[in-house]
């Protein structure tokens, strides 16, 4: 019974048997459920930030960001650098469009839709300038994260880009995925790469050397292991997810977790002695990940880090 060909034939026959038609009520019930379930904005799907923070902490973060925006010109934020050393701010067209743009995850200060051409960060702790073709939007510009994505839900596949600093590896302690730093894990390039490689919930590639604007580091790709079963409710109440990052703030505000349909590339760099991650958050089912990442990589490759922080 258990010779290879016999087994294959048995399984073919056995799986062919069994119910093939779903009851109409299942689709009717589904229709009723989706009527009560909103759709997530596209930018929220790749990772989660803030959503399990206590409301007073969320408020503090938002107020902090507002203060930074109000005091633009020469203050420090969470230990960040002098704004006076930063590059020129985004062109007037981008600033004007930002007035009506809702930045990601209740943050403020992002530039919104970007005109083709050169731009610079405004709040990110490690300032940089970069160039984009048309169609890109700055969805987040806060001291620890700078985010870009291709505009519009019908755009071709291209992963959002998140550039992160003030990094700490997170400890996944419960279904609520509170952003708590994991003790005993460093935040150097090597420590973070080793953590990804050794994480039981991830399937990762072999890391390779990487560089950006002359700064060196390592690149690694990963997905959530299909056998991983821990839930991170702020990300997804049904599917497993891996909580990966929080930050060095007190209390930490970042919580980045990846659900099971994510395929992620991290380029982990040492920039002026601080660890910085360039994240390409793609989809695990993409047939050609490299081709889809290429337009985002072209943007990242134009990054020039500026003095500061």
């Amino acid at each position: 019974m258990t010779h290879e060909r016999d087994l294959e034939r048995l399984l073919d026959s056995w799986f062919a048997d069994g119910p093939l038609v779903v009851a109409d009520r299942v689709i009717d019930d589904t229709a009723a459920r989706i009527a009560r379930q909103g759709q997530r904005p596209a930018w929220r799907l790749r990772s989660w930030r803030f959503s399990s923070m206590p409301s007073q902490l969320r408020l503090a973060v938002v107020v902090g960001a507002l203060l930074v925006a109000a005091l633009a010109g020469g203050v420090f934020f969470l230990g960040g650098g002098s704004r006076s050393s930063r590059a020129p701010s985004a062109p007037p067209s981008a600033a004007a469009s930002a007035a009506a743009f809702d930045c990601a995850a209740e943050t403020t200060g992002c530039a919104g839709p970007l005109a083709a051409g050169s731009h610079a960060t405004a709040n990110f702790a490690q300032p940089f300038e970069f160039r984009v073709p048309g169609g890109w939007t700055n969805i987040r510009d806060i001291p620890r994260t700078y985010g870009l994505e291709v505009s519009g839900v019908t755009a071709g596949p291209a992963p959002p880009i998140q550039i992160m600093t003030m990094i700490a590896v997170a400890d996944q302690r419960s279904r609520q995925c509170e952003p708590v730093a994991k003790s005993g894990v460093g935040s150097s390039v090597d420590a973070i790469i080793a953590y990804v490689q050794g994480h039981p919930g991830l399937v990762s590639s072999a890391p390779v050397a990487a560089s950006l604007d002359g700064y060196t580091g390592r690149q690694i790709d990963f997905t959530v292991d299909p056998t991983w079963d821990q839930i991170c409710e702020p990300v997804d109440a049904f599917r497993p997810a891996v909580l990966m990052l929080t930050d060095t703030g007190t209390p930490p505000g970042r919580a980045i977790a990846y659900a099971s349909d994510a395929r992620v590339r991290w380029v982990v760099l040492d920039v002026n002695g601080k660890t910085l991650i360039v994240e390409y958050a793609g989809d695990a089912f993409w047939a050609d990940f490299e081709a889809n990442v290429a337009p985002a990589k072209q943007v990242v490759d134009t990054i020039h880090f500026l003095p500061g922080s």
């Binding site: 019974m1 087994l7 069994g18 689709i27 009527a35 839900v153 399937v203 997905t223 299909p226």
Partner: protein, 183 residues
């Protein structure tokens, strides 16, 4: 037509989404049933997967991948449910069999029962891999895409799933034979 429905659904048209899934629901349900071996569980898994699909639909950037994406969501929901079920029943010596009530015409009942018991001993991921391969006819590269693992890993896990199924069947056969001899 599907592209138009998908575009409408991505912009919040619930009726378009229901139209879109109606033609796919039988195949998805049949897949879920074969992984979970339970009709109620398969119906619940299908509903959960479809609700997740609706919720996250705006993040689908490549319309051509809709079916693969939907299958992937379903398989992951099934693996999660099977994992929970496995924990609930971990201490039970005899697992219930919820197979189709109609008499099987393709396989002898003894073989079917052996397969059912052997299959339930596999890990949820091994079950999913066998269903993707033998029921949906997926090649290892498609299994890899669905589970989000490298193709080489998918080939290896398919091999191990077959081996685990064979071992489970052999173990069950031995129990039957030994039981027969001692009786």
């Amino acid at each position: 037509m599907d592209r138009e429905l998908l575009a409408a659904a991505q912009h919040g048209d619930e009726a378009a989404f229901v139209d879109l899934i109606r033609g796919r629901s039988n195949r998805l349900f049949a897949t879920a049933y074969r992984i979970l071996r339970d009709i109620d569980g398969a119906e619940d898994a299908l509903q959960d997967a479809l609700v997740i699909a609706w919720r996250d639909l705006r993040g689908l950037r490549d319309p051509d991948r809709f079916d693969a994406w939907l299958t992937r969501l379903l398989v992951h929901v099934c693996i999660a449910e099977a994992t929970r079920e496995r924990r609930r029943t971990a201490n039970l010596r005899v697992l219930p069999i919820d197979g189709p009530a109609a008499p099987d015409e393709l396989l002898p009942i003894a073989d079917r029962d052996l397969l059912e018991r052997g299959f339930r001993r596999l890990t949820p991921e091994q079950r999913a891999i066998l269903v993707l391969h033998h029921f949906l006819g997926y090649a290892p590269s498609e299994i890899a895409e669905t589970l989000g693992i490298p193709p080489g890993t998918a080939r290896s896990r398919l091999f191990h799933a077959h081996r685990a199924m064979r071992a489970a069947l052999d173990a069950d056969t031995r129990v039957v034979l030994e039981g027969g001899r001692s009786a």
